[in-house]
C-alpha cells in the first residue's frame, strides 16, 4: 500500500474494543469499497471533544482531531467510538462525515440499544455498525443521502431506520460510487 491509500478503521472508544466484530466489519468494508482496509486501535477521543453540559461528544470536533492525529497513510479514516455524539442543533447523531473528504466518525452508543432502549443482541449491533460504516464512508467518497429507504446511503434518524436498510448500496449509488472512485471499484 502506497502513500494515502485505502481506508483506516480506528477504534477510538473509551471501553474495550470488540476485535472480532470489528474485524468482520473491516472485511465487509474492504469487500464493498474494494480498497485495502486496516483496523487500528487509537487512544481517544480526546477530552476536549466532550461537551459537559450535554454529556456528549462533538462529532465535528472528533473529525478535526481524527484528521490531525489518526490517519497515517490512509486516504480515508473512519473513527469508531462508544461515546454518544452530537452536533449543536441536534439531540444526537449516529455519525458524521466530511462529504468528499478524508474523515468520518460512527458511534455505537445508540446502535447498542433497541428502539425501546434495551440492549440489542450482538449480531444486530454488528449489522448496524457495518451499515453505518458503509454509510459514512460513502459520504467521504462524495455520496449524499439516497431516497431509497433500503439503500445504505438513506438517512437514518433512528435505529429503526438503520435496521430497515440493507448493508449495500442501491444500483444508482453503486454506479455513482464507481464513477467517483474513477471506475476502479465499488
Amino acid at each position: 500500500m502506497g502513500e494515502r491509500e485505502g481506508i483506516l478503521l480506528a477504534w477510538i472508544g473509551t471501553g474495550p474494543m470488540d476485535a472480532d466484530m470489528l474485524e468482520r466489519v473491516r472485511q465487509q468494508v474492504q469487500a464493498t469499497f474494494a480498497v485495502p482496509t486496516r483496523l487500528l486501535r487509537v487512544n481517544g477521543p480526546p477530552g476536549d471533544t466532550l461537551e459537559p453540559r450535554r454529556g456528549q461528544h462533538s462529532s465535528t470536533r472528533i473529525l478535526r482531531w481524527l484528521l490531525g492525529t489518526a490517519s497515517p497513510g490512509a486516504a480515508k479514516v473512519l473513527g469508531i467510538t462508544d461515546v454518544d455524539l452530537f452536533i449543536p442543533v441536534l439531540t444526537f447523531v449516529f455519525g458524521e462525515a466530511q462529504v468528499d473528504g478524508p474523515a468520518a466518525v460512527v458511534s455505537v452508543a445508540r446502535l447498542r440499544l433497541t428502539y425501546d432502549e434495551r440492549p440489542a443482541p450482538p449480531g444486530l449491533l454488528e449489522a448496524r455498525l457495518a451499515k453505518e460504516c458503509l454509510h459514512e464512508l460513502g459520504h467521504t467518497y462524495g455520496l449524499v443521502h439516497c431516497p431509497d429507504g433500503a439503500c445504505v446511503m438513506s438517512r437514518s434518524n433512528s435505529v429503526l431506520d438503520v435496521d430497515r436498510k440493507r448493508a449495500a448500496f442501491c444500483r444508482d449509488c453503486r454506479q455513482r460510487l464507481w464513477e467517483l472512485l474513477g471506475g476502479r471499484g465499488g
Binding site: 465535528t60 442543533v89 441536534l90 449524499v144
Partner: protein, 453 residues
C-alpha cells in the same frame, strides 16, 4: 441517487449552528445558504427563491420574528420554521400568528427536523408541479412525441439531443405549426434541467409593457393596476427552461433588455431597484427570418448572435411528406382514446388527398384536419368528405383567394387552377388534388368546369 432538491436558507447568529445545520441538510441533497443576521437574510431573500427558511428566534439586531415578517412579504410561498432555544408558548403562538409554519426547540430530534423539512420541500415541489401541470398540456413531451422517418428530421433530432445535454441557448427556426414548442419541451425533458420548470412565453401575443412585466415581473405600484408585486417568467423558470416563442416579434426596447439579461444573468423587476440573479436556460423560437430582420435593422445583431448559439431548423411538413402516414396514425390513435371512437384509419382516397396537400399550417394543420375528420366520420374510416381539406393556395401567379367565397366556389376555383396548371391532364391533376380520376370527373361535371373558361 438523490436529485438536487430545493434551496434552504438558514438564519442564525451562531456560526457552529449554521455550519452543522448546513452540512446536515447538504447530506440530504439540499442546497443550503446561510445568513448570520436578519439583514443578510433579507438581502438573500431578494436575490433568490427558497423552498424553506430556518430562522433563529433570538438574534442581535433584527430578531427572528422581524425576519419572519419580512420573509412573508418577500417570499410569501416560502414556509418559515422558527428555531428557538427557549420554548415558550408565547413566542410560539406569536410566531405562528405571524405566519410561521412551525417552530423547533434546539437541540432538535433528527427525526423531527428531517420529517418537517422533507414534508415542506415535498409540498413545495408538489405545489410547483401542480401549477406547471395545470398550465402545461398535461403531458410530458419527449423526442418520441416527434414522429418522423425523414432524414431531415433525424438530423434535427440528433442536433437537438446534443443541444439538450448542454446549457447553451437554442434557437428553433421553422414555419408555424412545425412543432417548435414540442421540440423545445423535448429538449427541456432531455436536459439536466428536466426536473425544473418549463415556462413558455409567446412574445407576439402581448404588448411591449405587458411582455416586459410578464418576463421580468413587477413591484407593487410599478404601474397603474399593479396592486401587488409579481414574479416574472425569468424568476418562475429558475432552475429550468424559459421558452421565448416568436422572438422575432419583440420590440427594440425589450431586445435590449433581453440582451442585458443574457449577458449579465441578472435583471430588475419593473419598478424594482433590486438586481435579481437568474438561472434559466433559454430556448427561443421564431417563424421569421431573423437574419433578414437583422439586415433590415429590425432585430439587434448582438442579440441575434446571443440567441443563435445552437440553431435548429424544423423543416415544413411539405418537405417531409413521407411522415404524413405516420403522423396520421399517431393522431388517430390519440383521437381514438380522447373521443372513445372506434376509428380505423383514413381511406386510401383520403390519404392521397392528405399527401397531395401543401400544408401551409404544417403538422398543426394536419392535426386539426384529422380531428375534424375524426369528429365528422360516420363510420370507422375517415373519408375525403370528412376531411374538408382547405384547398392549397393558388399556384404562383394565380388569383388571390377571395375569402368571401363559399366552400363550393373555393373548391371549384382550386380544381380549375390545378387543371390549368397541368394543362387539363386529368391523371396529373387528380394526383395533385389527392383524389382519383373518377372523383375529379364527377367534380368537373358537378361544378360545370369548362376548359375554355
Amino acid at each position: 441517487m438523490m436529485k438536487a432538491k430545493g434551496s434552504i436558507l438558514v438564519v442564525d447568529d451562531e456560526e457552529i449552528v449554521r455550519d452543522s445545520l448546513a452540512s446536515w441538510l447538504e447530506e440530504d441533497g439540499y442546497r443550503v445558504d446561510t445568513a448570520p443576521d436578519g439583514q443578510t437574510a433579507l438581502a438573500k431573500l431578494r436575490e433568490q427563491a427558497y423552498a424553506v427558511l430556518l430562522v433563529d428566534l433570538k438574534m442581535p439586531g433584527m430578531d427572528g420574528l422581524q425576519v419572519l415578517a419580512e420573509a412573508r412579504r418577500l417570499q410569501p410561498d416560502a414556509p418559515v420554521i422558527i428555531m428557538t432555544a427557549y420554548a415558550t408558548v408565547d413566542t410560539a403562538v406569536q410566531a405562528m400568528k405571524q405566519g410561521a409554519y412551525d417552530y423547533l426547540v434546539k437541540p432538535f430530534e433528527p427525526e423531527e427536523l428531517s420529517m418537517m423539512v422533507g414534508k415542506l420541500t415535498h409540498t413545495q415541489a408538489l405545489r410547483r408541479e401542480n401549477i406547471l401541470l395545470r398550465k402545461a398540456l398535461k403531458r410530458r413531451f419527449e423526442f418520441k412525441d416527434m414522429l418522423s422517418k425523414s432524414p431531415k428530421m433525424d438530423a434535427v433530432f440528433e442536433l437537438a439531443r446534443t443541444a439538450a445535454k448542454s446549457n447553451s441557448t437554442v434557437l428553433i427556426l421553422g414555419e408555424s405549426g412545425t412543432g417548435k414548442e414540442v421540440l423545445a419541451r423535448a429538449i427541456h425533458a432531455e436536459s439536466p434541467r428536466r426536473d425544473g420548470p418549463f415556462v413558455g412565453v409567446s412574445c407576439a401575443a402581448l404588448t411591449e409593457s405587458l411582455l416586459e412585466s410578464e418576463l421580468f415581473g413587477h413591484e407593487k405600484g410599478a404601474f397603474t393596476g399593479a396592486t401587488t408585486s409579481a414574479r416574472g417568467k425569468f424568476e418562475i423558470a429558475a432552475g429550468g427552461t424559459l421558452f421565448l416563442d416568436e422572438i422575432g416579434d419583440i420590440s427594440p426596447k425589450l431586445q435590449l433588455d433581453l440582451l442585458r439579461v443574457l449577458d449579465a444573468r441578472e435583471f430588475r423587476r419593473v419598478g424594482g431597484a433590486q438586481l435579481i440573479k437568474t438561472d434559466v436556460r433559454i430556448i427561443a423560437a421564431t417563424n421569421r427570418d431573423l437574419k433578414k430582420l437583422v439586415e433590415s435593422g429590425t432585430f439587434r445583431e448582438d442579440l441575434y448572435y446571443r440567441l443563435n448559439v445552437i440553431p435548429v431548423t424544423l423543416p415544413p411538413l411539405r418537405e417531409r411528406k413521407e411522415d404524413i402516414p405516420l403522423l396520421v396514425e399517431h393522431f388517430l390513435a390519440q383521437f381514438r382514446v380522447e373521443m372513445q371512437k372506434p376509428l380505423e384509419g383514413v381511406s386510401a382516397e383520403g390519404l392521397e388527398m392528405l399527401m397531395a396537400h401543401d400544408w401551409p399550417g404544417n403538422v398543426r394543420e394536419l392535426k386539426n384536419v384529422l380531428e375534424r375528420g375524426a369528429v365528422l366520420a360516420r363510420g370507422p374510416i375517415i373519408t375525403p368528405l370528412d376531411l374538408e381539406l382547405a384547398p392549397a393556395p393558388p399556384p404562383a401567379g394565380g388569383a388571390a383567394r377571395d375569402t368571401a367565397d363559399s366552400l363550393r366556389e373555393v373548391e371549384r376555383k382550386h380544381i380549375l387552377a390545378t387543371l390549368r396548371q397541368h394543362h387539363w391532364n386529368i391523371t396529373r391533376s387528380a394526383k395533385a388534388l389527392g383524389i382519383d380520376r373518377v372523383t375529379l370527373y364527377n367534380k368537373i361535371k358537378r361544378y360545370q368546369i369548362r376548359e375554355d373558361e
